[in-house]
Amino acid sequence: MMRRTMAYFRVQVKTYMAERSAIFVSLIFPVMMVFIFGSIMPSEYLTGVIPGLIGFSILTDSLFAVTAVASKYRLMHIFNQLSLTPLRRSEWLFSVFLWHVIIGAASFAIIVGIGYFAFSANITLHLLIIPFIAFGALLFVSMGLLIGTVAKSSESAGIIGNAVGFPMMVLTGTFFPVSFLPWYLQQAVKVLPLYYFVQGMGDVMVTGDFNEGLLYLGVLIALAAGFFLAGTYLFRWREK
């Protein structure tokens, strides 16, 4: 099982290495964001948005990439092709998840590293960060799988992905604290899954409010489980 999972993992690595825009979005972009915020804002502000920038990276790396892959591979009959090999759907999915956890951990390390060493951001590292990154990746991989599976065409998959992703990318505390929003938007953003990631990571890394952090981690796990079940229930390699 691991052998097949790793075989597909290498396919993902090769695909990623050949795709310059993917490298840019997943690694260069977060670096730029930290530099921009670090240069124009005081260190406390940067510290406050670091969990947001991490959330932003995990969202863009996982949600948009998996949405595109799930719809494109279905329409190009690559899933049909894979269904004729011993690779199982669960192995494929686990491999995709593993890849996005690693990319997520890498962007975490880059953002925290630059923030800390270049701009003396005041952040705490804690073991709870690991489940946040793992379930964050699982959540957005599952959402991408779901969107890519239900969308009829690649275009509509892209549109739905953007419609779901953009509000989260901007409003959930990624670039500025949620408290900057008008009160009704502060309530509304609670329906956006990334909110629980960013706020929970803020509790763990910045404010040290572990009770609230654990609560938000619980919500994140529940959301990830829900989307995972829905996505894997609908996702098929073969047509009816």
Partner: protein, 301 residues
Amino acid sequence: MIRVSGLRKSFGKIRAVDGINFEVERGTVFALLGPNGAGKTTAISMLEGLLQRDSGNIEILGMDPWAEHGTVRMRIGVMPQGFNFFEKLTPLDSLVFYRDLFESSVDPESLLRLVILDDSRNVPFEKLSGGQKQKLGLALSLVNDPEILFLDEPTTGLDPSARRAIWSIIRMFRDRGKTIILTTHYMEEAEQLADNIAIISHGRIIAEGSPEGIVSRYGSGRKVVIKAGKEMGDFLSSERIEASVNGKYFEIRLDPETNLSSLIGLIEDSGISYSQLTVRADSLEDVFIRLVGEMSEGELK
């Protein structure tokens, strides 16, 4: 080896496959012929277990390819129509990937040489030419040394020497006692390779048998084919000789009463020049066009 009965599949109102039956023996090549949209790909996808049937029965190696896909897939090879793969993977990467998945002992390099793709072993899939992509599709279908090979239009768009190379792979495969189902639009290919043929139109089999059998059953004897200008047509109609026009070719059917030498004498005496005059029997292509044409006319009525 392969048994299909009463197979049906509809997409909305389109009856893509409308009740077909056939059997394929081990160690033979079976070709599905038919015009665009006849239902060949739909039928073959159901045999491969990639598409669920509406009704009917399919037995592949004694199994149901949809329900027992997990077992069947290990023993078949599939080259789909318009084969697509991971854009950034090279042919070598792709074969290594398949070899790892199947835990097979094939040497990717030798498969690349077999399908004449070794020169492009390191070119990403998206940069391969159409024919090179198909060659990779064929190579991948061979990784697990399958017992049955499904090839949907394997040589469409290939250059003549690549086509012959693929023919020889198919023959080699058959000679090892394996079974092949292929679709094609090239009658020559079917005549060269197939032990048995089914001609499909509108989701139904309208003729089935060996290539020679079909030609002798549905063909209508010999004909004279003349390549000439328009004056030839005028001359023939003035002589009340019934000829069908096909571009620059005039075709005169020879029924048993026609005297070939007097017909040719008449044409020679007319003094009208022609560039070719041949006498030949109906080919598979003639039969195909007639059968499919009759079928469409029947549809119109």
